[in-house]
């Protein structure tokens, strides 16, 4: 049985930031990630980040991942378990980990504290023939293109005009692939308008209040039918448009990957504004269980910039809760929370803020 002070599950922006922050205290950290390469979604993100300088504004996601990994390597007290999935959390506090491409390495780990930074999974959409080859999630398209240099198709219909749909459309255009259109069920573009404008300039139409009705094809997608929808999200007959595409890319939202938190018995709540079931937490990112912290998309779907800040807060507080010393802890903690608040002080974050309010644990004040 392996022992560690702090197990961090997930090596994306939240998990990496948590590890760096906690490691500076001297605590022994074990970081577990299921990919071959650390960095989570950052390693696929070729666009420059928003935010302020402190949050790596202007730097591309892939570069941010490199910066974080360099930082991680400086700490001898961070152990990495890569290509590994945490398969369970047991009553005696043990995490079971299955490692390797064949899953033939089994590890039992007993941590004093756990930070769950498992991120999110993509939502699926129901439409006729949604199991045809050529129907992809946006994450898969990004992985194929940006990690492995493989184009997913030649003519793409993007479903969803949130930031992911917009950004992946742009990446497809950069790869020389034609994006026929972007459809968005809501009456307005959900992602940053600067992303939308830059895609429009490259000639891609964005149809709001439209959705994908069906796709056709024999061995794969050959055409897609989109249609206008009304405010009740019902297709309006007679508004169908046929698009000749070989690829349909779905960017219709994310759901927190919270299975481990359920299993651990954390107090969970369905909060639509945060993308689904999330663990309730205090403002130090601690769940209803004293040994489990959360950070990043698993705590509520947001941006990588806020995930990194949540990770830092969780890492810092988990380490300090174990008695490790961090200089200027109180000030540091206060500043991180202030930064997070500033990042969310815009109209687009209103929904998230409502969700976060619902997810906040109200505790009895300890005397």
């Amino acid at each position: 049985m392996k022992k560690t002070n702090l197990a961090i599950i997930g090596g994306g922006p939240a998990g990496l930031s948590a590890a760096i922050c906690a490691a500076s205290s001297g605590a022994k950290i074990t970081l577990i990630d299921d990919s071959l390469e650390l960095g989570g979604q950052l390693i696929k993100q070729t666009h420059k980040f928003f935010g302020s300088k402190k949050q790596f504004a202007g730097i591309r996601g892939i570069e941010i991942a490199k910066n974080l990994l360099q930082e991680i390597k400086k700490y001898k007290n961070i152990e990495l378990i890569g290509n590994a999935t945490v398969t369970g959390y047991y009553e005696d506090g043990i995490l079971t980990i299955v490692q390797g491409s064949n899953g033939d390495i089994f590890i039992k780990l007993l941590p004093d504290r756990i930070i769950v930074a498992t991120g999110a999974s993509e939502n699926m959409l129901t439409f006729v023939n949604n199991d045809l080859p050529g129907v992809y999630g946006a994450g898969a398209v990004q992985t194929l293109m940006n990690l492995y240099g493989v184009v997913p198709g030649n003519n793409v219909l993007m479903v969803g005009a949130g930031n992911i749909g917009l950004i992946v459309s742009y990446q497809l255009l950069q790869a020389g692939i034609k994006v026929e259109a972007i459809v968005e069920a809501l009456p307005r573009i959900g992602g940053y308008l600067v992303h939308a404008s830059k895609i429009r300039r490259l000639g891609v139409p964005i149809y709001t209040s439209h959705s994908l009705k069906e796709v056709y094809g024999n061995d794969g997608v050959e055409k897609a039918v989109i249609s206008e929808i009304n405010k009740d999200f019902e297709f309006i007959p007679g508004t169908e448009k046929e698009l000749k595409v070989d690829t349909v890319c779905l960017a219709v939202g994310l759901s927190p990957l919270s299975d481990l938190l359920w299993q651990a018995g954390c107090q969970m709540k369905y909060i639509a504004e945060l993308g689904g079931y999330v663990a309730l937490r205090d403002d130090h990112m601690k769940s209803s269980l004293d040994n489990i912290y959360i950070a990043g998309d698993v705590a509520g779907i947001e941006e990588a910039s806020s995930a990194m800040l949540e990770g830092k807060i969780a890492g810092l507080n988990a380490a300090v809760s174990l008695g490790y010393r961090v200089d200027n802890f109180l000030e540091l903690n206060r500043n991180l929370r202030k930064e997070l608040e500033e990042l969310r002080a815009n109209p687009l974050s209103e929904k998230v803020k409502i969700g976060l309010e619902k997810a906040l644990l109200k505790r009895e004040v300890d005397q």
Binding site: G51, R200, I206, L348
Partner: protein
């Protein structure tokens, strides 16, 4: 409209375009950023204080056009690729547009490219005056277009050699 289509309206644009006198004086920045999001690299990048420092990270950029030299350093700093520099003094009937470009192949200096409007429609031809390769990979392309196109053209299309004749 912008929220529905991704295209700024004339009213949106009025708020960010300098007045005629300033435009007539030469190169000046136009920041087509209309939505409050947490983002401030433009203000940080400006060496002349023309893009005023943000009080709140979510502020919209505020430009003092008289301080702007049209240097264009903010063009590649902007994560949203929303910044352009327009020089109406470029020649008697041509204006110069500096725009951000992250596509390949890069256009060649001296060559003609298609000039596209905000909806990606080809509206004229443009001549590539300068190609600046920038370290952060948001390159800056300077093109000359007819003056009446200066407020319309915001993108270019480079003819792919593979498809030529």
């Amino acid at each position: 409209m912008l929220e529905k289509t991704g295209l700024p309206t004339d009213d949106d644009l009025k708020k960010v375009i300098p007045d005629k006198e300033r435009l007539a004086k030469g190169a000046v920045v136009i920041i087509e950023c209309f939505q409050k999001i947490p983002c401030d690299p433009c203000a940080i990048s400006c060496q002349f204080g023309a893009i005023k420092p943000f009080k709140d990270i979510n502020d919209l950029p505020q430009v003092d056009f008289n301080k702007c030299t049209g240097c264009g350093i903010c063009i590649s700093a902007c994560p949203g690729l929303a910044i352009f520099v327009i020089d109406n003094n470029y020649s008697e009937n041509k204006a110069l547009i500096k725009l951000p470009y992250e596509m390949l192949p890069l256009p060649e200096k001296g060559k003609e490219v298609y000039a596209l409007d905000r909806a990606g429609k080809i509206v004229s031809k443009a001549k590539v005056v300068r190609v600046q390769k920038i370290k952060n990979k948001t390159n800056i392309i300077s093109i000359s277009v007819h003056k009446n196109m200066a407020m319309k053209v915001r993108s270019i299309k480079v003819e792919d050699k593979k498809n030529e004749g």
